[in-house]
Amino acid sequence: MGSLEGVWFGLQVAFTATNLLAALGGALLGTMVGVLPGLGPVGAMALLLPVTLTLGPDTAVIMLAGIYYGSQYGGSTTSILVHIPGEAASIVTMRDGYAMAKKGQAGPALAIAAVGSFVAGTVGIVGLVAAAPTLADFALRLGPPEYFAIALVGLIALSRLSAGSVWKGLVILAGGLLLATVGTDSVSGTSRFTAGSIKLAGGIQLVPVVIGLFGLTEVLLVAESSGGLPHLSSVALRDLLPSREQWSRSWAPILRGTGLGFLIGLIPGPANVISSFASYNVEQRVSKHPEEFGHGAIEGVAGPEAANNAATSGQMVPLLALGIPFSAASALLLAALVVQGVQPGPLLVDQNPEVFWGVIASMFVGNLALLVLNLPLVGVWVSMLRLPEGLLMVLITVFVLVGTFTIRNSVFDLSVMVVAGVVGYVLRKLDFDLAPLVLALVIGPFLERTFRQSLFLSRGDLTVFVTRPVSAALLGILVLILVVPMFLARRGESPVPEPKGP
């Protein structure tokens, strides 16, 4: 069966009344759960997986796809409306999305996020269909040295999202890496920096830190000034949709983010986070309005949202073509497929083409359902901002607390969240950009693991990082990233625009 025939066949499977309902239901459930702080796509899929067990395999997979995309969009919704990221990948969307919401532009931000996600998801699926075997083969040729180089370049390059103090940037980056090293070392099993505490042996979890740094900190910032949440007294229909200028400024970032996110999705690890940060960085550098970034630039929403969604499609390449999940979310999708009797891998497309193409089609249907459902609901989401500010604060605070607890049913996570919130408040006051801390916390373990794996494989030969072509090229790019700004600074030019992060 050729690709076009397969896609047509898959669409015939997907576009039945039952499966369309499943897609819409999954997207709605996923969005509602994704809105809750602490419950990102993985949490939402885990919670809602039992719902799909009573369904047939094709219907279950379609519903799961809807849940996955819906929960990603739900996380973006809270990022934009109330500055609480539903997941780490929504942090960069939050920078400009929330700024837009404060200016009464929440509707356009949400609409662009929905459309950008749909375009990226659709193009990503096309890429998946066209290039899955080839890309999977390329991805398998990369090893720990290449992954280390990618992670290092990503960490250094992406931590410079905003201009400002280099020293503060280093401190905050090191702080994130420090937090990432607390706990049990995954390679040797040694407990590091735990002071004998069993609770710390499990490490510092990412989500409580993110919720504390951005959620609780925002609550404190609103409390200090007794106001400041975005508030709308009325919502006109025209205010819900982007203007022509906003549309024209969004298309290029969406397409760039799609390409970037899809390629990054081929890399194992935190692809969604890296792709959204990378896209923001790119858009900031190429934008004709760099001074707007951090203050409500539509490109800062369009690009990262597209990249995040495209990375999801990219992650499906190794999952479907090789049966290898490259992230927690795709691992959960793999588990769900196996439970339904579907075993992804090289034999799937030959032995069960209807299943393979059905899964592909389900991704498209889930993506479409997200757009069809959430675009009309933009007004409903934005209407949240019409609630009395005190009530909104109450709901945010309660959901932040409960969402954090339900991650692992851990009181320790709550304590981490509270400490992160207080520390985050102080750091925000001192103009520290908090995003690099989260980036370091996400990438740090991956960076260390790939570094040590590289040395294991090369038997201690450090030149492995420069003798392998891809790794050497990436490290060369890193040197340029570090050297060029210094050179330009000596000449009195700044390579990075001046806006401060939130």
């Binding site: 280093l170 390679v187 590091r192 709901l395 207080v422």
Partner: protein, 164 residues
Amino acid sequence: MTADEGRRGPSRHAMNLTVAVLGTVGALGYLWAASTYDFGTLAQPGPSVFPLIAVGPLLLVGSVGLGVATWRGRGEASGEVGWPSVAGWSRMAAITAAVTVYAWGLPFLGHITAASIVVLTVLKVMDLWSWGIRIIAAFAIAFLSYWLFADLLGSPLPRGPFGV
């Protein structure tokens, strides 16, 4: 809302220096702790390698650099910190205390009671409604959140001493 008084808090210069000192001390302590773990060999790097060669030095360099730049007054100490007024500090302290009570008291008080305390505190801080309505709203929101997470989503939440 009560009228805000003058803003209170340490200067940016003092705060940056504090962060620099804490960072430097923290980095040295981190490096010392890391040195107690196995370094291994180049072929089999141990758990102390990454902290010793990357994290610790990065934090030390950043903290010392911040401190020196602040001391020399090179841009790091410019501008004032927008600290809140006394009333603002009180509001933040109240919310911080309430969420801390939730964080530490949850296993003993249960979600309903602990969440009600948080809701009451936030409503008082935001000066919304009368006390009667606040109490009703507190329990309503606590029960609603319990139903949403524990019953609907199946994420168990602790119950208090009276099963509430």
